[in-house]
Symmetry: C2
Subunit: 178 residues, 2 copies
């Protein structure tokens, strides 16, 4: 941030009165601009005993596999966002079963909501965001070609849940890559 | 938003190429500015059979009662944020037991994470944000003077959980006030 989005004046990094950390403060109109972590919503879509995975058709991580997920938009709930992102990336229609996991990635200021979801049909389509889409059994998950570690965590948790019919929400904090 | 925070130029509300909704786009440098829902993190702090509630010492809802909660900051996890907010608002030190509820409030673009937490001691202090703090039994919850409906939901869920020792995460969508 270089300029005040309210009045267009220059800004300074200052600790506002009564606050305890630096914020972008306008030198002219006094606006304080806060930045907060962003929410990413997505699904683990299931058809029979298979999981829907998307091969990324866009950067970042072009060509790597992911569960359908993306930034939560204004005016929607986390569930609505997860259904929307699944549709946008794969044209799969899903009904949410339950919240599967919450994944914090504090070094990039992201919080993931991954929902376990049932596909309404085995239908899906390649989209501008996904160059290939497949329904894969657990044994066929491309572990070495997953786009993001959060997806690997979510899939691992799904596999661990299967024998126990586990229903607690998983949590993990994902740190920077070593 | 009136000006580009990157270059200070005027902006326009446009649907960017490949997108499906209006964003603030800079007329000069081409920056696209996204706005997303914000996360509020807080605790339901328990000492023995009592709940810690704070009387708000600041707007909004000055003088009404709330669980300690506030905006998640950059660089922290939801759990860390909930512990921090509890400390900032009440000087109570807590250990998180589990995620109690996720509450979506789409009309104001907020998602709440409320954690069930054990207080390390019955100690707390009035703070700049809380004019009064009390440990209250269920029978003493000031239902008519709670600051936010999300707090009323979270407390109601806690009461419903008690007899069953329920451990699933609660969910609710809170709409505009009628």
């Amino acid at each position: 941030m270089n300029y005040c989005s309210n009045c267009g004046h220059t800004i300074s990094l200052l600790v506002p009165e009564g606050d305890d950390r630096e914020r972008y403060c306008c030198d002219n109109c006094g606006s304080i601009h806060y930045f907060n972590p962003r929410i990413i919503v997505g699904c683990l879509p299931i058809w029979e005993d298979k999981i829907l995975l998307c091969k990324r058709g866009i950067e970042p991580r072009l060509g790597f596999w992911t569960l359908p997920a993306g930034f939560m938009e204004l005016g929607e709930t986390t569930e609505q966002g997860a259904i929307r992102e699944t549709w946008e990336e794969s044209r799969a229609e899903v009904d949410i079963e339950r919240l599967h996991g919450i994944y914090n990635i504090p070094h990039i200021d992201q919080v993931y909501f991954i929902y376990l979801a049932k596909m309404r049909s085995p239908n899906f389509e390649v989209t501008p965001e996904s160059s290939k889409i497949e329904l894969l059994g657990i044994e066929d998950i491309p572990w070495d070609n997953l786009a993001f570690r959060v997806m690997s965590e979510a899939l691992q948790h799904y596999i661990e849940d299967k024998p126990a019919a586990f229903t607690e929400v998983h949590h993990a904090v994902i740190g920077p890559r070593k």
